[in-house]
């Protein structure tokens, strides 16, 4: 079993490792326990992988989890996770994990009064962490923005009252570019923290940048950091010192950097 690199950082009991050491450091010790955290990013930036890191870190710390998928079948999640050394099926057999594949409407519907399909999965393994991948599927239900926000708010409050820590992912359709909205319906306002994963074009190469847009849990690193998706998962790979316009998508060396090179 491949371990995440997170246990190297001593954790505060009220903080939870994201499963990525560099991100834990950026957050000043991980996400806050019981928070609903949003990972937003373009396709292929590693949102699902980061969500899995969070669950794997939980399982390694003795906290079972539930992974909810809508579009992707569990067999694809198992296959991709196994490439990182995470045997999700084995953890399911051991009662440490549940992978649930359903539709947004069924996830929100009641199985019994006050009890949903998700509550059932949480109870089966005694889950403390839940990953919902991704909220983009809720947009396809045709609910108007305010109804979507209400439904999401209800779901996250329900989980918060159970003391469950949540990671939800959301796809931003833009690959690169200056204009970027996390969501059309104010999803970022329902999250306690927002981690942005994005592509940055730098000198003809598409690189990946991670940034913490918001974190209610405390002070945090505000820089864009480079990261890579490796066989071990998401790994931070330095920063963008001397580079500007990263948030615009087309980064360049800053004026100061270029000036110093001329001297």
């Amino acid at each position: 079993m491949s371990k995440t690199d997170a246990p190297a950082m001593p954790m505060d009991a009220n903080r939870l490792s994201t499963g990525v050491l560099g991100l834990d450091q950026m957050l000043g010790g991980g996400w806050a326990r019981g928070d609903a955290n949003l990972i937003a990013g373009a396709p292929g930036t590693g949102k699902t992988t980061l969500g899995l890191h969070f669950l794997v870190a939980g399982i390694q710390a003795g906290e079972p989890g539930v992974f909810v998928t809508f579009e992707y079948l569990p067999q694809l999640i198992y296959r991709d996770a196994l490439k990182r050394g995470w045997d999700l099926q084995q953890w399911e057999r051991e009662g440490k994990l549940r992978v649930v594949c359903t539709t947004p409407d069924l996830l929100l519907a009641e199985l019994a009064p006050g009890k949903s399909v998700l509550d059932d999965a949480i109870a089966e393994v005694g889950a403390r962490r839940v990953v919902i991948d991704s909220l983009t599927a809720f947009e396809a239900t045709g609910r108007p923005g305010d109804k979507l926000r209400d439904a999401m708010s209800g779901l996250f409050n329900h989980l918060r009252l159970k003391g469950i820590s949540v990671v939800k992912t959301h796809e931003i359709p833009q690959i690169v570019g200056p204009a970027m909205r996390v969501s059309e319906w104010g999803l970022e306002f329902l999250a306690d923290s927002v981690v942005l994963l994005r592509y940055v074009e730098l000198e003809g190469t598409l690189q990946k940048a991670i940034n913490i847009l918001k974190f209610r849990g405390g002070d945090h690193d505000r820089r864009f950091r480079k990261y890579e998706l490796t066989a071990k998962g998401l790994v931070l790979a330095g920063d963008f010192t001397g580079i500007e316009n990263i948030s615009g998508g087309a980064a360049r060396r800053s004026f100061g950097t270029r000036a110093r090179e001329l001297v």
Binding site: E92, L106, V117
Partner: protein, 104 residues
């Protein structure tokens, strides 16, 4: 829900070899035990039509391989996870046996 030892696995094998779609449903849930779907949703995921699936899936429900549950105002199909390991072992053993027989 019937006890884990309740399902007649011989009958499951008969279901499996009956039609391609019946076999496809068994393999699908073996690979994706956490799928919770309506009949229409499952048909979409399997790339078939609901009517055809309805006809084929009755045996799985009768056998206890799948259970029907009410979620909100919809009926969903849920795989009996408690029997997952047992079914997996049985199918793998049965396949080995039949392969041997075929080689003879």
């Amino acid at each position: 829900m019937p006890p884990p030892e309740g399902m007649d696995l011989r009958k499951l094998f008969e279901v499996w070899v009956d039609t391609d779609l019946k076999a496809q449903v068994i393999v699908f849930y073996q690979n994706n035990p956490g799928v919770i779907e309506t009949l229409e949703g499952l048909a979409r995921r399997l790339g078939t039509n609901p009517e055809e699936l309805r006809k084929n899936i009755a045996a799985h429900i009768q056998l206890g391989f799948l259970h029907e549950k009410k979620v909100g105002n919809q009926t969903v199909l849920v795989y009996d996870r408690e029997q997952h390991g047992r079914i997996e072992n049985f199918i793998s053993e049965e396949l080995k046996k039949r392969m041997k027989e075929a080689v003879k």
